[in-house]
């Protein structure tokens, strides 16, 4: 299509007065309806945990054992090595990092904040809120490319072997945000085995989409805790998960798993912060989800609501963008995002064009440390929240904006 024709189409698009938001990976009301039973649970007469703990009172720092048991497969650890906390695994990740900064890990000789500089490896594209925590606390971020099967391990291995200031790496190992990447067994093996100059190096393993399948194929990944232990690095991985995108996004449970030493360390650190988590919400989730199978059944219902939205975007991109040079996108098997790559220098322009046509996208650059995508080519699309018809409208609008931006740039 000619630039002129694209401009004409874009003007027509603007006339539609769309008002669509694809910015964040929020569940739709229909998804939340699946868990509405939680709002009446556990019920007035149900307040004793299986060990007879009165869930209404103080205490129980590690979380109810029956709640921890729900997540043993998801995080790959026995319930003794699991901590269940309040809503938002982001808060748990933040706190774990803050504890390491102020006190050091169980393997640290001093608090991370006492060192002149520390750094984290950030596979890109990645999750903006991981990067925000680092930026906030002055942790230098080193981007490493996220390849088809995980971070570029040649680069990761070389960096961590030589630089003791590198204390960690952010990983979303399954259906990664935003690319849908699944880490291969070989990548997990190399992460577990690699030599690190820092002896208190930590993998922040944010398994946010562990059971969040978009196809009938239930992709599985290696157990990072087992692999780290097998290679003599039992304390290397901090594993995180949550029910935010299983039950209620604002009122779920967050989950931590790690080696015995890491769990003991975190419980000790948490002791000065709280007497215990909201155990009522934990029992509520136990009553509702019941078992790991209960979680799987619920996630299948989620899939049936989510998959058509992803399909719609992919079909429209296929129809409108497959001929456009330099434009590619992911076809995720799970998770919450589609990642669109446009020719260098075009991402910001696409986001601006979309905004001016009433379609709000995540700011270009958000997928990279410091909000700076050096090639300006990555766009994250979150199709979960709007209705299917709106997702279709938004995808068509986006595809036009991409075509126009590419044509403007003379690619």
């Amino acid at each position: 299509m000619s630039l002129h024709q694209l401009q004409t189409d874009y003007s027509a698009l603007q006339q539609l007065g769309l008002k669509l938001d694809l910015t964040r990976g929020k569940p739709s009301p229909q998804q939340l309806d699946l868990s509405v039973e939680l709002l009446g649970l556990p019920g007035e007469s149900d307040f004793l945990a299986e060990d007879k703990t009165d869930i209404r009172n103080y205490g129980g720092l590690q979380g109810l054992v029956e709640a921890r048991r729900l997540f043993t497969t998801m995080v790959g650890a026995p319930h003794q090595q699991i901590i269940v906390g309040n809503n938002a695994s982001l808060a748990l990740m933040h706190d774990v990092l803050v504890f390491a900064l102020l006190k050091g890990t169980c393997d640290s000789s001093e608090p991370w904040s006492k060192q002149s500089e520390i750094a984290f490896l950030c596979p890109v594209p990645g999750y903006d809120r991981h990067f925000k925590i680092c930026e906030d606390y002055g942790i230098r971020m080193i981007s490493v490319p996220l390849l088809e099967d995980g971070p570029d391990m040649n680069e990761v291995e070389a960096l961590v072997a030589s630089d003791p200031s590198i204390k960690g790496i952010w990983c979303i190992p399954k259906y990664s945000n935003p690319t849908g990447t699944v880490y291969s067994d070989s990548v997990v093996e190399r992460l577990a085995a690699m030599t690190t100059a820092a002896n208190d190096f930590r993998i922040f393993w944010d398994n946010a989409y562990a059971v969040h399948h978009l196809t009938e194929e239930h992709v599985s990944i290696a157990n990072v805790l087992e692999r780290c232990a097998a290679h003599g690095n039992p304390n290397r991985a901090f594993v995180f998960a949550s029910t935010s995108k299983i039950t209620l996004a604002g009122a779920g449970l967050a989950v931590f798993a790690g080696s015995k030493a890491n769990v003991q360390w975190l419980l000790e650190r948490m002791t000065s912060r709280t007497i215990g988590p909201d155990k009522v919400n934990q029992l509520r989730h136990v009553r509702f989800l019941k078992t790991e199978e209960g979680i799987a059944d619920l996630m299948e219902k989620q899939r049936l609501l989510l998959a058509p939205k992803f399909e719609a975007v992919l079909n429209i991109f296929e129809a409108q963008l497959s001929g456009v040079p330099g434009v590619t996108w992911t076809r995720p098997k799970g998770g919450y995002f589609i990642c669109l790559e446009v020719p260098p220098g075009c991402a910001k322009r696409v986001v601006t064009l979309a905004r001016d046509a009433g379609v709000v996208l995540t700011p270009a650059g958000a997928t990279h440390p410091y909000g700076n995508d050096p090639k300006d080519q990555t766009i994250r699309i979150a199709p979960s929240f709007p209705k299917l018809a709106e997702v279709q409208e938004a995808a068509k609008a986006m595809a036009l904006c991409v075509q126009l931006a590419v044509a403007e740039a003379g690619h």
Copy 2:
């Protein structure tokens, strides 16, 4: 009574095989029953906040406005200057302190942790968990005496005026833990007005027992936020409260209030930690408590359960201890504790004797920084959790242990 007689009585006490726990200020099951309705709320069809926010989804960092409105009188601030978070105000206090350490307050020129040393004033006797946070993060604690009407302000004023490393003071201004002390208007005024060498000095105003009356007299205190503002120190006070001892101890709401600048600062800090609090629990509390009057009504029911236990202890102490030299105790008008003072050097011995007779008390020293009560004379008693008959048994046992310890010491 002779030492010999006391020893004989103590041997008889040991034969009873008591198993009683007065260690922590936990509500009793009967108190928790008052809020059992919460366990079925808000109900499956009730998930829209008054501004139409879907409470099941992400967002709403500051908390629901209707939840904030419940606490305006309690914390003495308009809802715009209130943040409502997840359970445990201890966690909020911890986080605020951590944010100040890692980032500084809105008035700090650098993070507190970048300074060679910082210190907090700790009125004693005080709350062990306040002290634990300071100890954990290496904040030097300076004890100041808690007098009848609040901290010894002559000492406080002299210290903060001369030492810029003093960044804060822990205050429980009403029905203080463990003494039941109520800060006088004059003390609040002096705290608000005093000159501090540190220009980012903060009062950690833990108003944990704001509505927790034990008598029909509802003691009120000055509004610290107003007084600080009136003296040109609008950002001086961080105000904390919670519903842990109003509704469910393990599943309540925590509340922060402060100046506009402090609230904005805290919201910015919280942004890297979480997308929002558990809004379902906030709506649940709104539906149950309804209004400030609803809170007052509930607290009156709590009082009718708690007051007899306090009375029982006081009556037994009166009967058994009023003749014992050097032994005094508080008669609190609210809160959760009775504070027993024994002659110097006797507190640990009383706690040991009680333990060996099956009555577990808070460790002697817990009321002071570093767990060290230099005169070894303060014992905190928490009569809320056991049944009334058990409280009576425990108080009698304690009184005997006090008599024996004093006699042993030859006082």
